[in-house]
């Protein structure tokens, strides 16, 4: 288990313009607990303090105050030698891969094992084994400059895993990769998490990444954890503006441009108007045939303007924007509100024949 206990990081920075120095809180009283075997995501905007936070786990950055525990060991209390020993069991991968340019793929993967004084024979076996796991066994003799970004990150992952760590830290490991490669690298991380049972802590500014592989997520804003919990919970009921903003990356609910000329009415003029609703559903509700239910149960017409369905790991979630017209539209609205759906009335639009087909 990884536990951060009131971790703060303060930098002395010079005041813009002046010569005076002032304190800048990159992290403010961050407390987190990360279960063994979890894939834990930390998300936030640029400058939120994500890198600072993850670097506090292996003490590449020493917290100004607070304590860090990894598997029961208080990292912040270790001396230099003990800290180095502890770091050998915490793998780390980076956005810019940080491979040794003058070592082959083999040499790169062997590097942490050399540092840990493994015997040559054992290094050889281990490098082969781990290269196979990440799918680069045919590249061992090449140099990093001869590899694609995705392959380089696989080498980075192999290097991080070589010494059988308990924890893998990932600092924007997929941010330099295209979407396709990102998916395959994330898939690899999930595989590894399944197979080896090691804890993965990853930071990202992309909700997509969290959605794809994380079990739990912490949202970091201006150095503070503003929201934290299982990914599904945070996704279904985001409490904070930052979270919603980040979520907008994956739940595309804006009306497409073709609806830009919809005329919205004031609510009190809405009696004869159509209602425009945004429905968000998570889990089993997504599987229910609710549109046909609606039409069968009430005297209404339903027009689907936007539909978007996706998965967070195995759980379906989606967003619909529908336009309901007809005399019983208020009853239909009540019915929807009773279901396990998030319903938001976007507005009322004039009933017309030419809207949205």
């Amino acid at each position: 288990m990884i536990r951060l206990d009131g971790v703060s990081k303060v930098y002395r920075v010079s005041d813009p313009g002046g010569t005076a120095k002032k304190n800048f809180h990159a992290l403010r009283d961050v407390s987190l607990e990360i279960e063994n075997g979890a894939i834990y995501g930390i998300i936030g905007r640029s400058g939120a303090g994500k890198s600072t936070l993850i670097r506090c786990v292996n003490l590449l950055e020493r917290p100004s105050s607070g304590r860090v525990f990894v598997n029961g060991v208080e990292m912040t209390a270790l001396g230099d030698g003990q800290l180095r020993a502890a770091r050998k069991k915490i793998g780390m991968i980076f956005q810019s891969f940080n491979l040794l340019a003058n070592r082959t793929v083999y040499g790169n993967i062997a590097f942490p094992l050399e540092l840990d004084r493994w015997r040559e024979r054992e290094i050889k076996d281990r490098v082969k084994e781990i290269a196979q796991l990440v799918g680069i066994e045919d590249k061992l003799a090449q140099y990093p400059s001869q590899l694609s970004g995705g392959q380089k990150q696989r080498v980075g992952i192999a290097r991080a895993l070589a010494n059988r760590p308990d924890v893998l830290l990932s600092d924007e490991a997929t941010s330099a990769l295209d979407p396709q490669t990102t998916k395959s690298v994330l898939g690899l991380l999930r595989d590894i998490n399944d197979k080896l049972g090691l804890t993965v802590v990853l930071i990202t500014h992309e909700m997509e990444v969290i959605k794809e592989i994380c079990d739990s997520v912490a949202v970091l804003d201006a150095g503070e954890v503003v929201e934290e919990g299982p990914v599904l919970n945070v996704f279904t009921s985001p409490l904070k503006g930052v979270t919603k903003e980040l979520l907008a990356q994956v739940t595309k609910t804006q009306l497409p441009d073709s609806f830009a000329d919809l005329k919205f009415l004031r609510e009190r003029d809405s009696r004869q108007a159509d209602v425009l609703l945004q429905l968000s559903f998570f889990g089993s509700a997504a599987a229910r045939p609710m549109i046909s239910d609606l039409v069968r149960k009430f005297d209404v017409d339903v027009n689907i303007l936007v539909a978007h369905i996706d998965h967070i790991r195995a759980t379906p979630y989606g967003t619909l924007v529908i336009q309901i017209s007809g005399d019983e539209r208020e009853d239909a609205l009540d019915y929807l509100l009773d279901m396990n759906l998030k319903v938001k009335v976007i507005g009322y639009v004039a009933r017309s024949n030419d809207t949205a087909h």
């Binding site: 180095r84 940080n98 040794l100 340019a101 003058n102 590097f111 942490p112 540092l115 400059s145």
Partner: protein, 220 residues
């Protein structure tokens, strides 16, 4: 060209090779650790140390700002202590080395400084000690740049050795002045110039190919 001249030129070539070889070796041996210490104690290095860096840096700057011809004369007392005389090939090795050490130091420092912080960070995250970072990360990663820098050093030492020769150090420079210039023997002058050019060409070529051979950070 007469037999005598051939012997003379061969002798000069050997002397020059001796001066350049010995002073190169000494300046590499002293300059490499100097450069490593400069780079790791610099602000942002792996063992930042302001007093050490400041003192060494000042020393290096002073050493590099003294023109070679003045340095050669100024350190005659030191030369006497070290080799017993201030004249001759061996005596020339002292000022040549002294002038090249700070140069090599800076060359190595800047080669090491080129290494991406991320790579050092990765090594730290794997539990590397500062010594392991120097031996297994900094020096191997900077090797091509260090080789280029050392090539440059050897080539400037060839030039300086000719200067040292002119004031009694022996070697090709000495021959060029005494025979080519003072005794008006243009063929000797030409021969020494060609020999020096060939030497420079040879080291440049050897250095470049060695540097390219050790460089793996570019495609190809």
């Amino acid at each position: 060209m007469s037999q005598d001249l051939t012997i003379l030129l061969t002798r000069g070539l050997v002397d020059t090779a001796y001066m350049v070889g010995a002073s190169s070796a000494i300046s590499f041996l002293a300059g490499l650790p100097l450069g490593v210490i400069l780079s790791i104690t610099a602000p942002g290095g792996i063992l930042p140390n302001r007093p050490v860096y400041g003192a060494l840096s000042l020393l290096v700057n002073v050493g590099r700002s003294i023109p070679f011809i003045i340095l050669m004369v100024a350190i005659i007392p030191l030369t006497r202590i070290l080799v017993g005389t201030s004249i001759g090939t061996e005596a020339a090795i002292v000022p040549l080395s002294v002038s090249a050490i700070p140069f090599v130091g800076r060359v190595v420092e800047s080669a090491l400084r080129e290494i991406d912080d991320g790579i050092i960070e990765a090594a730290l995250s794997m539990g590397a000690t500062p010594l392991e970072i120097i031996r297994k990360v900094l020096l191997p990663e900077a090797l091509p740049a260090i080789i280029s820098g050392l090539t440059l050093t050897v080539i400037s030492l060839i030039g300086y050795s000719a200067m040292a020769g002119a004031i009694g150090g022996g070697g090709l420079g000495d021959i060029a002045i005494r025979y080519g210039y003072q005794r008006f023997m243009p063929d000797v002058m030409l021969a020494t110039v060609i020999a020096l050019v060939l030497m420079v060409q040879f080291f440049q070529f050897a250095g470049d190919s060695l540097s390219a051979k050790t460089r793996h950070d570019k495609k190809g």
